[in-house]
Symmetry: C2
Subunit: 263 residues, 2 copies
DNA sequence: GCTCGAACCAATTTCCTATTGGTTCAATCC
DNA sequence: GGATTGAACCAATAGGAAATTGGTTCGAGC
């Protein structure tokens, strides 16, 4: 048995180091199976078994006729997300979240199963226990999506995912970075998350929606504070990085859209 | 001047009749410019001018290297809409509309300009004056989208358009057909539309949202009646038009999804 | 029983060529 | 003189043959 899969394991090790080394083209394409078989001096069958493992782990994805690529298989939305992002600003996204996520929380309060509520509490705990801002944002995103999932409407979940994709677009990376580091009081966020899940657990749609709305309002406020020029930072994070647009607040009329990614 | 554009006008006429006749391939591809120039015995420049007019009118669209096509230029969403439709059912879509369009109506009540409100009343009139069910649905769609547009949030409008695309998918064609023919009392719909626009004109977000919600609830109810086997006559709906279900959803738990278009 | 190599299959890319809309420009025609 | 015309040329696309690449099958051999 050990003998049998020996070559595959050898190839697997080699491939793992190859993936970690990052010595790949920008598109993440790695050599062909035949080339790998030649390079590592193992049979193609062994290479394929190793690649199957890596694919199952989600480290690579393959397309017949094209090749094998590192990372996650891209889905069709990516392209459209770009065009959407180009025409929107952060405050528009926050406004949409403020009006949709409370609805999802309401539905979740009506339909979430016991096990799903348990999972929510676990996620809240994960957020609170995270030491780094990056991890907090990760678990926070997981909680919000889980609530959307518990709304029990596949189509609504798809809509949520579209919003989520736009929200997480790299164009906002910089602002989100600052928001994470400047997000002062963890306890406030923790309390709000708990309030949301408590309301869902209590099967109180109105309270769940309102709690979600409050949570997002707080988030929006902190975003406004960050993007405004004359803000007194809660804990003097970095030297004041320049933000050209102080108009972060949501206003009745809309400012001209920034042209982004216009190739 | 008349002499100058004479040939173009001649070509324009010929092309219009060609488009109306429907004697085109299934893909709606027109002959090449050179071929048209030959067929109609006018210069290619004249053909191009005529085509420019038709393109500006939205009757055709052109792509260099490919050809000239009748109808509207397709965008990238179509493909994704199919995959979304495959995983949803009508009631899911109605639930989403019930929770999003009221929000858009609220925003529109806060931000719609005077001219936009005027346009809304015009659209309501168009709906009421339409003699055929097909025209009514067309103008109804225009009104709903216009309200979404008046919400003044580009991103929210994009979300609405996604929902709209899925809603209008041909998969629901049959049901919508029956809904149109069975939609008995026009006056009820007319009153509801007027109520929505009145609330927007009065800058009353709460009332606008509630009016929109009521309107969609009525629509949902008629859909339920149509899709249920043992339905009664449409005339009787006046008596029961009062808030058929205080809860926006149909039921707390979800019916199993139908598998559609799973090739 | 398993692996290995080879051949074959199917999906995709690549390269080339023909087609087609877009543009320019001198000749031509009132 | 001004606009049109026809021709040539440019740029983007479609179509197709050939090469590439992941997916599969099968017999030889240890």
């Amino acid at each position: 048995m050990d003998e049998a899969t020996g070559n595959s394991n050898y190839a697997l090790d080699k491939l793992r180091t190859l993936l970690r080394s990052g010595s790949l083209d920008a598109d993440g394409k790695l050599p062909t199976e035949r080339a790998l078989s030649d390079m590592l001096d193992v049979s193609r069958r062994a290479v394929r078994r190793a690649l199957e493992v890596l694919e199952a782990e989600g480290l690579i994805w393959r397309r017949q006729g094209s090749g094998t690529f590192a990372g996650r298989r891209p889905d069709g939305w990516s392209e459209h997300v770009d065009s959407i992002v180009a025409g929107t600003d952060l405050m528009e996204i926050m406004e949409v979240r403020l009006r949709i996520e409370p609805q999802l929380a309401q539905l979740a309060a009506m339909r979430a199963k016991a096990g799903e509520v348990t999972r929510m509490y676990e996620l809240v705990k994960k957020i609170y226990e995270s030491t780094d801002a990056d991890g907090r944002e990760l678990w926070d995103g997981a909680l919000h999506r889980h609530i959307a999932q518990c709304a029990g409407n596949q189509f609504f979940l798809t809509i949520f995912d579209v919003i989520n994709r736009v929200r997480q677009d790299e164009a906002w990376q910089a602002i989100r970075e600052r928001a994470r580091s400047a997000n002062g009081t963890r306890t406030v966020t923790y309390g709000q998350h708990t309030a949301i899940v408590d309301a869902i657990a209590a099967r109180d749609p109105g309270a769940a929606g309102e709690a979600m709305r409050l949570h997002l309002l707080t988030l929006q406020e902190s975003l406004v504070r960050i993007t405004s020029l004359d803000h007194q930072q809660p804990e003097r994070n970095k030297s004041s990085s320049e933000e050209p647009n102080p108009n972060g607040a949501l206003s009745a009329e809309h400012q001209t859209r920034k042209q982004r990614r216009t190739e």
